[in-house]
């Protein structure tokens, strides 16, 4: 009997505990995600500010894998430079081969690069929209943000939203303008068609920013857009549409504010130690630290692969055509027509251990702040030894870029990480852009002397700038010491302003060429050239000439052609057309029959 009693007792205990467990199962089965925040947490002054920072963070296009290449955000190196006559993809042929068809103007809608660009742009848009939505929700809650700051936040977010749409507009001809669900009301974001360019919406958001942003940087933080940044972007947007009348007052407004001056040294626009300087209107900020690198992703990508600073991948190589554009006459003036320039010696196919004597032709000194070439000091890291420093000359020619690498002196600002990253900002808008666009406007208005004056401001600054020093008298690099006379400039530099009676400003056509060439030289490799050729309407002529002349450097360019009707914009990503069937329309130039 006792035994049965014990058994029953134990069985009851078991049943009991099962019942207890069962009745608690709702709690038992509740597991919330750790280490993340939910929507309501974001609806607070701190949350909204943090979301706004998240939206700024997309400026440097680091949001996802391969953004640095296919997205090419901020720097626009792929679409703005590689697709132009300034640069090649570089590196070796199989590397990043989605870029090869972009070089050859044969991009298909399935190319992953265009999807990454699209995604980078709209990720930024969605972060700006999320900031706006949470801002408005916070303002109706019990702990709102002070009105004046709320207005700034809205203006900053709209500035960014316009910027990301502008970035999309550079690559895709017709895009949808995505606003917040609150603004859209009945229409869902995914039902917004890409019926055409979205200039009006971009301009409206920028105008809101101009009207509501202060002249100083909001919160005193230099990375934030102020009124002039919004004006510069809006002026740029008008330049893209050749709306000179609308660009002009904005450009004048910036110039006349006297908030900005040209820096004394041209290289200060690239020097990491002189970021956010008096010339700078808006920069994409970058930093490195022991835990993170919010770099412009271009940095490591374009470092040379070999040589003392050699830690990069060796992409983004300037062309011989760009190098030759820096030649000047004995008067220190550029040569406007391509056909009149002389070929300059280059070390293509010449091993570092074989003799090569760099050209002694007079050159614009900006060339050696732009292009890494053999026999010239590379930002203090050492004398460039040519082929030995280049990943694969037969694929990308003999040069590398210089503007994205930090100087050896600045290495201390970049002690963290593998060396692949640096914290060098990208100067998106600076006074020199404003001056040269204003010069363009002046040319179109037939005010050639004002155009010349503006161009000369740029040229005089270059003339007064430090030049690259170190004349090399060693022409064979075989490991033995290199003889350098550091008291002499590295090359035969010469640059002068256009004199009053300069032929270049004797007619509108010539002045146009002079202003355009000045922009090419001043901003070379900075991701603008292709878009500029397109807005000037000379893309077809310039690029086809370039392909023909240049295929000795890129054997794979044989047979490629540029069709200005079709290749002026890239196709919309097929994946998005498939996802938004009936909403998004492919660029008709890319519709298959």
């Amino acid at each position: 009997m006792k035994k049965i009693f014990t058994k029953i007792f134990i069985a009851c205990m078991m049943v009991n505990s099962i019942v207890i467990l069962y009745s608690c199962s709702e709690d038992f089965l509740l597991k919330e995600p750790p280490g993340v925040a939910s929507g309501p947490v974001m609806e607070s002054p701190e949350g909204v500010e943090a979301l706004l920072i998240g939206a700024y963070s997309d400026l440097n296009g680091t949001s996802h894998y391969r953004s640095d290449f296919g997205g090419s955000m901020g720097s626009n190196w792929v679409y703005g430079s590689v697709a132009s006559d300034d640069c090649y993809k570089g590196s070796s042929s199989g590397d990043q081969n989605d870029c090869n068809p972009i070089e050859r103007y044969e991009t298909l809608p399935t190319n992953l690069y265009v999807a990454v660009r699209w995604g980078d742009c709209y990720d930024g848009v969605s972060r700006a929209n999320e900031t706006l939505e949470r801002l408005w929700a916070t303002q109706t809650g019990n702990r709102p943000i002070k009105d004046s700051r709320a207005k700034e936040i809205e203006a900053e977010a709209k500035f960014l939203r316009a910027w990301f749409h502008f970035e999309a507009s550079k690559v895709f001809e017709k895009i949808p303008y995505i606003k917040t669900k609150t603004e859209l009301g009945e229409t869902l974001p995914e039902n917004i068609p890409n019926s055409g360019p979205v200039w009006d919406e971009i301009e409206a958001d920028l105008q809101y920013a101009i009207d509501n942003l202060p002249e100083e940087h909001p919160l005193g933080e230099v990375g934030r857009a102020n009124k002039y940044a919004a004006m510069a972007v809006k002026a740029h947007v008008h330049m893209y549409q050749n709306e000179f009348d609308e660009a002009k007052p904005l450009l004048d407004n910036i110039i006349e504010s006297h908030q900005y001056e040209l820096v004394e040294n041209y290289y200060d626009n690239y020097n990491q130690a002189t970021e956010n300087n008096k010339e700078s209107i808006f920069e994409i900020q970058a930093s490195t630290s022991s835990t993170s690198h919010t770099r412009i992703k271009l940095a490591g990508v374009v470092f040379p692969q070999a040589g003392p600073a050699g830690i990069g991948w060796g992409f983004f190589q300037p062309s011989q055509d760009l190098f030759e554009a820096f030649q000047v006459t004995n008067d220190g003036l550029p040569i406007l027509d391509d056909e009149e320039r002389v070929p300059l010696e280059n070390d293509m196919g010449i091993a570092s251990s074989e003799e090569f004597i760099p050209t002694d032709h007079p050159l614009d000194p900006r060339v050696d702040w732009t292009i890494m070439r053999r026999g010239v000091d590379f930002l203090g890291w050492g004398i460039c030894e040519g082929a030995g420093w280049i990943r694969e000359q037969s694929n990308g020619g003999p040069y590398m870029t210089k503007k994205f690498m930090h100087t050896k002196e600045n290495a201390k600002l970049n002690v963290y990480g593998s060396g692949f990253n640096n914290g060098q900002n990208f100067r998106l808008y600076r006074l020199s852009h404003v001056l040269l666009w204003r010069a363009e406007v002046a040319v179109e208005e037939d005010d050639l002397s004002y155009a010349r004056e503006l161009v000369n401001q740029i040229r005089n600054r270059a003339r007064g700038s430090d030049v690259v020093m170190g004349r090399v008298s060693t022409y064979v690099f075989d490991g033995r010491p290199i003889e350098v006379d550091w008291s002499k400039p590295a090359a035969n530099y010469k640059i002068e302003p256009y004199p009053k009676n300069a032929d270049a400003f004797s007619s509108k056509e010539k002045a146009r060429k002079a202003v355009r060439l000045e922009q090419r030289l001043e901003f070379a490799t900075e991701g603008m050239r292709f878009y500029d050729l397109r807005r000037w309407g000379i893309d077809g002529e310039v690029l086809n000439n370039f392909i023909e002349k240049d295929s000795q450097f890129r054997s794979f360019m044989r047979g490629a052609t540029y069709d200005p009707e079709k290749d002026d914009y890239w196709p919309l990503p097929q994946s998005q057309l498939d996802l938004q069937k009936g909403v998004l329309q492919q660029d008709p130039a890319y519709e298959s029959k």
Partner: protein
Amino acid sequence: MSLLLCICIGVRQTSASESSSSLFSENSSIGEGESGSSNFNSMQQNLMVRGKVTDSSGAPLPGVTIVVKGTSQGTITDSEGNYSLPNVPSDATLVFSFVGMITQEILVEGQSVINVKMEEEIIRLEEVVAVGYSTRRAGEITSSISKIDATTIEKMPIIDASEALRTASGVTVRTNHTPGGGASILIRGLGTINDNNPLWVVDGVPGGNVNPNDIESISILKDAASAAIYGARAAGGVILVTTKTGRRNQKPQVRVDIKSGISQNSNYYDMLNTREYGELLWLEAKNSGVTDFSHPLYGSGPEPDIPDYIFPPRAKEGDPSVDPSLYDDKMIHEDGDDTYLIMRANKEGTDWLREADRNAFFLEANLGLTGGSEKTVYSFQAGYLNEEGILKWTGFDRYNLRSNVTSNPTDWLEIGERVGITYSESYGNQGNHAEDAVVSWCYRMPPIVPVYDIMGNYAGTRAPGTGNAQNPIFLLDKNQWDKRKRMNVSGNAYAQINLLEGLSARTTFGFYHNSYFYRDINYVEKAFSERGKYDYLGEGSNYTLQWNWTNTLEYSNTFANLHRVTAMVGTEAIDNNYRYTDASRSEFFSQDPNYIQLATGLQGINNGGNTSSWSLFSVFGRLNYSYANKYFFEGVVRRDGSSRFSEGNRYAVFPAFSLGWELTEENFMDSTSDWLNQFKLRFGYGETGNDRIGNYNSYTNYNIDYFHSFYPITGDNVTTGTTGFYMSALGNPNVKWETTKTTNFGIDAVINRKLNFSIDIWNRKTTDMLYPKQIPLIAGRVSAPSINIGEMNNNGIDFELGYNDRIFNNELQYNFNLNLSHYKNEIVKLSDVAGEFLTGDDHREMVYTRAEKGTSFPEFYGYVVEGIFQTEEEAAAHPKAFGPNGTYNKPGHYKYKDVDGNGVIDSNDRTYIGSPHPDLTGGLNIDLSYKGISLTTYLYFSYGNKMINYVRRWIDFKQFQGGRSKDRLYNSWGSPYLEDNTKAKLPIAEMSDTESQQPSSAFVEDASFLRMEYLRLGYDLNRLFHTNLRGINIFGQVSNVFTISGYSGLDPEVNRGGRNMGIDAGAWPTPRRFTVGFTFDI
């Protein structure tokens, strides 16, 4: 159900059954009676029956169960094989049974001494099979279960338990050949695009850990009728592992098992040497129209010239620049100058894979002790394994201990524990399936680079023109201190109460603890073209702690000798917690691996960590009914509640049933009963679930990320930036389980007690398949939540056939087991968007796999190559590639097919170009045994599966400046070595050939293969020496004896699954291992 049949060749100690039957407790009450006063007041004349039970060789057989037929009265033999059974009616029948022996029924007829000689059973219908929370007699099973026994496992040259599953039908096993790498398992195709892994349950502990040597048996629950008892986790099938235990009244038995051997690589790529490589460069230039070609190493002449030195480039012997005094291995941040590593050219060519591999040592030792008394049985196992990898400095060490004890302190209570502890350590660079794995670096290194420079330091790609590969020997050497340590403690403690006759309650507490630690030092390879700056250390650890508490109540009875009923109900609660922390630093004062610790790194100070958890609460039940061993019914139902789903969708019910009909028990089959021992029809239907879609799919999250949401808004150069948030995941609170419905029809038959076969024809259909429906990029890059929208279907057939016999006076025993499996997988629906598809990962910007409605998951996707253009006319006449302005078509290039027929080759012309899924797989096991000599072999084949040989994109095409295949020089279109261009294997070799590298049918190869997995020859030394030991066996074994395949890569079997199934991206080579071993049974 498909029983795996085995001959017992004197391995008595390995076939003990699960010891949970209530028979033993009844038996002990008899024991009490015996020790008490005599019992003479019976009406009938009763006898005390004694005797001795022996096996066929006459050796005493302990542990044999003797029952008076029709009663529960019985006993078991003692360690000498003796028994005595009081109170036996003189007209009774005694039933003698023992696992692995043919049950004998003997009429008492007044005898008081009955000696019995047991015969080994060839077909084991009586064996006990684990079915989940209980066991069942094999003959009663109505669902689809495969079983693998210790006898089979012990002969296999395996390291990990998963590899043993290859011998079962319906199971796809893909072995990972890295040391200790195990295998991935698919049961009956793929039920989902999500996690298809089966649920492992070791001694009732989900996710449990077990070593092959500890395993008594494995049951593979293949259909829903059998697996539904595991409900929401069972859709991928369930693997139940039972570990070894002792038997009652068994003398302590010790087994010592030692094997040792050597492993070797069995295959190499056919690569160009230094001279041929130069020749290829000139051929490429010529084919690209470059007349003045120059190369930083091979010069600029009309022909390639091999230099004496590659760094400084193209230097000659005696050149002042190669003076060793110039040698400098300090980088610029170390002494202000760059390195100056002087490297000689390897003029013959470095054969990198041969430099990297080695003869690897193997040792395994196991010690087992099993035994039992009247009331307690026990088994203790200890093991050590040392497996060196065939690539230098790689390997795997494992130590394991197991203790299984079961005791009956009273006649109604059974308590027990089963605990296993495994500690393992793997070390060295074991990267696999990646372009940065050592195997891939071996083909990515050009032959001209030597292994070492003139000072004996590692040479590398710092020399211009040598590409961007890392020196694989450097990586192997310098990663020898990289460790992965894993400690697993898992097991259970349980108590079972026999409440009433036939009614028992059982409570089991199971636990699973896994802790893992890794340590990786990445040294800067100074000779590497993409070298970093500082040595780096990463360390991390994680742990999982899971408990489960399972309670079951089981009732079993037979009414009127005809109706047998078993009913079980139970509850189970599982709680799983996972946590990780990791940290890294870089820049160390010393390179000594012992100095390099997290505390000593000067910068790059990073740390991270997070946690995740899930829980499950379930109620389940099972009812079995059988009538006269003729008609069988089983019904199962489980209700699961999971934390992975939001409140409204938290619970789901998974029902299943199965039916069986044993035709041979029918009277109308009497005429065949002399040869047809069993003929059983089975039918089952059931539903199972899959909840493995991540733990928090229902929540919308905002996250911080240093790289993706922080921004240095203040303009500082050295800062992590200001904290920014972004929406990282969009939640779907409506998400619920994936449900897989399985129908199974099967036949089991045994003929002449020698031939057995089983066939299962099945269908699995998954509905509500979770699919992360893509959201348009205009909504931002937030991770999309899974929604229940997809459907997947699988059909298949599994076949097992065994034949066993003894001939020549029973001297030659032989046994053949053949299993064949076929499945066809099809996605019925992915989402409600027409044409939506899934792709695999991109491999260097190219994607090779895709899946959508109507395809298998996945299939290869790309262009169709119709050949190579031979003439200008042919090329000009073909639709333009790529795009209407395309310029690709020319002689020597691939002729891509205009699939959509619109006159232009573009991405719309990509199509499905092959499937990695086999049409048929199978295995043949052959066991022969003659006078103590045993020969076992296992052959495995896979037929009809295709593979993407992605490695060929690196070695046959110009993907960086790495090693190249012989084919590119000798068999490419236009090669001077090729007499007839129509026989070219590859397109023309050019300086840039990206467009020929497009994913296409040219990379798809037939990867069917037949492999002799192993061949084992053993001998029983007791035949020679007649020792006192129970057994002393010696054997020799070869694994991966041969492989017959048309596949051109290193191995046709590549362990990659999911979206990337069938892509060979540099798989670890399959080792061939030669082993000798001894087994002592004491």
